[in-house]
Symmetry: C2
């Protein structure tokens, strides 16, 4: 399974399509969770050159710089990060060498009518079907991306009416539901 | 259920007992997860006065300041935070008015011999037994705290040999395992 963190196209609190800024701790927390659950790769998607440069600096510090010596465990996580300008570029890389197109699964905090449940996606992943799981930053992915997906995963419900998890929490919980040992 | 994030006594990478600095995003991510899963209160424990002041400033911004107007959902999460200088002070508050002493459950990334499994703790929590769940910052809680607990929860296993989740991820996953709807 592959995870992609989308910074564009996402929406702001008013529903306008924007390119969100990269949050450094997203790179750390999500790569550590991805490594813990045996995810194949973690794509960070942003078309903004200054944000790409920020990602390169953070990853460089922990993979090749002083951070790698200070904390080798962090290096093993952050070296999973691959930087791409668009989700199309992610798909292109995943299909290289004639590999089959992965199933594109989007996540959202909003409930939909035809959402895929966790047991079904867990079964698909266990079956070694290639899957790329997309997470949006800011107020979530733009509709163009949500609508182009093969499946939309059910929103996380914690039994309250509050559904404002951080993307770091959402990725962690969803990886545990799909790949964790405690079912 | 109650969650407590412990900044002292915790250990550094060499096993020395320290008081860890507060990470702002811990306050956001953990209060958002706690609110999502219907946790009763989120205690932030630090004896350091400058760190207590940092917590007060962050919480004040989002609960009473400009942040509350910008993002009312964030306010609903951060207003769950209660600041205490020690875990003893947390227990004292939880036992006020003659309330029964809660079961103290510690979490750790290290495996132990007599760890409590998730189904058992989930049953205890469903039964309305008061439980306070402790999470350590830095390299985890000091032994004095781990050994004084009633139970030690099994480490999260993601099926790999890598077990270096952020505390933000660990809290999110554990709350989902104990209180989530998807079992």
């Amino acid at each position: 399974m592959t995870v992609a963190l989308i910074h564009h196209p996402v929406v702001d609190k008013n529903g306008q399509t924007i390119a969100a800024a990269v949050t450094g701790l997203d790179l750390h927390d999500i790569s550590r969770a991805a490594k813990t659950y045996g995810v194949g790769a973690f794509y960070v998607v942003t078309p903004l050159e200054d944000q790409q440069e920020l990602v390169r600096r953070i990853v460089g510090h922990w993979v090749d710089g002083a951070g790698a010596r200070y904390n080798p465990d962090r290096r093993r996580a952050l070296e999973m990060i691959r930087l791409k300008p668009s989700f199309e570029a992610v798909l292109e890389e995943l299909e290289q060498g004639g590999a089959p197109r992965p199933k594109v699964v989007v996540t959202s905090a909003r409930m939909g009518n035809n959402d895929m449940d966790y047991a079904s996606l867990r079964a698909l992943v266990s079956d070694n079907t290639p899957v790329v799981l997309l997470f949006g930053t800011a107020w979530g992915m733009a509709d163009t991306l949500l609508e182009a997906a093969d499946y939309r995963l059910a929103a996380i419900c914690g039994g309250s009416t509050y559904n404002h998890l951080s993307v770091r929490s959402a990725v962690s919980i969803i990886l545990d539901r799909l790949l964790g040992d405690e079912r």
